[in-house]
């Protein structure tokens, strides 16, 4: 069940008796807001935050003219969506740079939020901007945390400063001195994960803050965090004065309502989001996309952006022309699949589609291996066969099967699919003629 559909359906139901007066009444809004509240809670938005938010939105929504182009349910969702964006905005805040180098960034957060990995991701990002980052191993408690930073730092091509298990406060001070001497312009201090109620360890962070001049204190939060996110964020912020937030593990199917809670209680901007295990999987935060996600509307914008990155306009135009002329070949078919792969694979795409998280439809239905197989089959064909699949007879099929390590059935299936896609394109030709992926 797609969640957006469900919220929108639920709202539609409430408004089904709505007369054509053109205005939403207070009762209708109240009923609608109950549904919105549940949607927010299911997305892990903190109850307190959700309630305040709903109160605000209700005020704005009562008496609103129902726009002609939208039905009342969508009207309400639009208002909610806009308010969410406003609350989480302004759009992506950049990292502060200290006027007096080095810029010092201190990471903090609960255990397992992803701080160490994030240090390396930041290093990659900083290097891309032409900076020279130094990573500092300040987690002396978790076994092998220093080794982990050294390994991921190495992968990021950043130097790692460590002094074993000596007091992290001292290590931080020495690291900044070292950075000054060696010309590193940015210092990223990894710290141990700690519970916000762990007095001794919270004190340690305060001491680091006192010892070195820190430009950014970034609270790293697991996007899957539930109602407790407010307690965590509130405590870290009140003790340390957090300057920004990084949300990690957004490549899962969490709706990430914790993000709203944190923004609401700290007022601090969300600077980055972690979207994968690779060191390049770090993205700026876009409030509008997050709002859609919290409401279960999927991240269609990111999807479009990725599609644009993977398929150049020229390619798209060419494809469109081919479709018009009905000269779409197996080579083009393969190009489409490759584009899909470039976009992060069918699974990544699906996760961004509205409601996909709740749908039964998962990656297995769009098996990456299947795409690999299609690739192998097409690459085992001669150019002539790719352009004229009708010439592929039994003996050719046998050869292709041998060459690609597949079976005759696989090849028949692919050819059938290709024909269907071609048929589909023919039908589309009369319409808007927009490029579409074969599913």
């Amino acid at each position: 069940m797609a969640l957006f559909a469900s919220l929108s359906e639920r709202l539609n139901h409430i408004f089904s008796k709505l007369t054509k007066r053109g205005k939403l009444t207070e009762l209708e809004i109240r009923q609608a807001m109950r549904e919105v509240r549940i949607a927010l809670l299911e997305a892990d938005v903190n109850l307190r935050v959700a309630k305040d938010f709903i109160a605000q939105v209700s005020e704005k929504a009562v008496g609103q003219q129902v726009l002609e182009s939208l039905n009342p349910a969508q009207q309400v969702i639009k208002i909610v969506n806009e308010e969410l964006i406003a609350l989480m905005g302004p759009s992506n805040a950049k990292l502060e740079v200290s006027p007096k180098p080095p810029t010092v960034i201190m990471m903090c957060g609960l255990q397992g939020a992803g701080k160490t990995t994030m240090c390396a991701k930041l290093a990659v990002q900083l290097k891309k901007q032409g900076k020279r980052p130094l990573l500092v191993a300040g987690d002396i408690y978790r076994p092998a945390a220093i080794d982990q930073l050294k390994v991921v730092g190495g992968k990021a091509g950043a130097e790692v400063f460590e002094r074993g298990t000596q007091d992290p406060v001292k290590t931080a001070r020495q690291a900044v001195e070292y950075a000054n001497k060696m010309g590193f312009d940015t210092v990223v201090i990894d710290t141990a994960g700690r519970l916000h109620i762990d007095e001794k360890l919270m004190q340690e962070l305060e001491n680091i803050k006192r010892e070195v001049e820190i430009t950014e204190i970034l609270l790293t939060v697991d996007a899957m965090t539930g109602q407790d996110a407010v307690n965590v964020a509130e405590t870290f912020n009140s003790r340390l004065g957090v300057t920004g937030v990084i949300l990690t593990k957004l490549d899962g199917d969490t709706r990430g309502g914790a993000c709203l809670s944190i923004k609401a209680v700290t007022g601090k901007p969300i600077k980055f989001i972690g979207v994968g295990e690779k060191l390049t999987d770090l993205e700026p935060f876009y409030p509008d996309r997050m709002a859609s996600r919290i409401l279960g509307m999927g991240d269609v914008l990111s999807l479009i952006e990725r599609a644009q990155e993977a398929v150049s306009e020229k390619e798209a135009k060419e494809l469109e022309k081919k479709m018009r002329e009905n000269s779409f070949t197996l080579s083009d078919y393969l190009t489409q699949f490759e584009a899909l792969k470039k976009m992060g694979g069918a699974g990544a795409l699906l996760s961004m589609l509205p409601g996909a998280g709740k749908m039964k439809l998962r990656e297995s239905d769009f098996d990456e291996k299947k795409i690999e197989r299609i690739r192998a089959i097409i690459l085992s064909m001669t150019p002539k066969e790719r352009d004229n699949p009708q010439i592929i007879n039994y003996s050719r099929k046998k050869r292709i099967a041998m060459g690609s390590g597949t079976t005759l059935q696989d090849i028949n299936q692919l050819l059938k699919q290709f024909e269907q896609t071609k048929q589909l394109m023919k039908q589309m030709k009369g319409g808007k003629g927009r490029m579409r992926l074969p599913f």
Binding site: Y141, A145, V232
Partner: protein, 298 residues
């Protein structure tokens, strides 16, 4: 301190307890739907799933007829009973030896630490333990496990970082069989449940154990971070579909989060909570106890 006390105490770290909120609710003297709506919200604000909260409140509504709804003690006790029954819907598995226990879960929930604690727990039961470092993906995960193995004084089977985790599992199984080890604990890499290729890798390890060590009792435990919210259900459902789960280890209960999602996991998915992690030390792991959990939860 008794270990029951530990779970209960761990849960009492916050002033915003369910019972505190319930007292406020009774003071407000609300009636009818307003009362039930708020009761539902109290549960949800401890990460109980929306659906479970609705179910639980529905049951309270049925039982607390007439004047009883104003009786705070009655409603509190009723709520405790309902929640405990929900937990008991998934019976604890009986651990038989020799056994293989594989810990699975998303990134950062505390699998490696938990392996150390579980190893120590079995050592205290006078069992022989072997741990397998099948998280070959995360940087330094093998070293981290080696430290825990050392602390628990158990043997470890490990390969190079980046090697095939199934090969580690294979070797560990061979070693456990050869030595007649009582308990083989397998650490696996954290993986988000939405990543099919990683879930397939897990299924492969699952098959290797089942095929190579059919005489062992094979348990798969999902490690869940108590600070997780509604996503816990999705995690449990997908991991259960992939490798079938025999239990849950709830970690980080020493924070202020209560892990209210476990009710829907026990009630709907029928997966029991087996262990609870209540601190950073190796002995900070307790067998889960539904009654004490509910006491602490409320």
């Amino acid at each position: 301190m008794s270990f029951f006390g530990k779970i209960k105490d761990a849960l009492k770290k916050t002033k915003e307890t369910v019972s505190h909120k319930m007292r406020q609710l009774f003071l407000k003297n609300k009636l009818g739907d307003a009362f039930y709506d708020e009761l539902e919200e109290i549960l949800i604000s401890s990460d109980v799933s929306v659906r479970t909260a609705e179910d639980v409140v529905e049951q309270v509504k049925e039982e607390a007829i007439g004047g009883k709804i104003k009786d705070e003690q009655f409603v509190t006790d009723l709520l405790k009973d309902i929640l405990e029954d929900t937990l008991n819907e998934a019976p604890m598995p009986e651990i038989k030896y020799p056994c293989v226990i594989m810990l699975v879960g998303v990134n950062g929930v505390g699998k490696t630490t938990t392996i150390g604690k579980v190893a120590n727990w079995f050592i205290r039961q006078k069992k022989s333990v072997l741990v397998a470092a099948a998280d070959t993906f995360r940087a330094a995960a093998i070293d981290q496990l080696a430290v825990w193995a050392d602390r628990a004084k158990v043997r470890i089977v490990k390969h190079e970082e980046g090697s095939d985790p199934s090969a580690v599992v294979f070797d560990a199984v061979s070693s456990a069989k050869a030595r007649g080890t009582d308990v083989l604990l397998i650490d696996t890499a954290g993986r988000l449940h939405v990543k099919d290729n990683l879930m397939n890798e897990l299924k492969k390890m699952d098959r290797v154990v089942a095929r190579e060590f059919p005489e062992a009792h094979f348990y798969k435990f999902l490690v869940l971070d108590a600070t997780t919210g509604q996503n816990a259900y999705s995690q449990a459902r997908v991991f259960k579909d992939a490798v079938s789960l025999d239990g849950i280890v709830l970690t980080k209960l020493d924070g202020t989060a209560k892990g209210g999602f476990v009710f829907s996991l026990c009630g709907e998915l029928k997966v029991p909570v087996v262990f609870a992690g209540v601190g950073e030390k190796i002995e900070d792991l307790e067998l889960f106890d539904a009654e004490q959990f509910v006491e602490g939860f409320i």
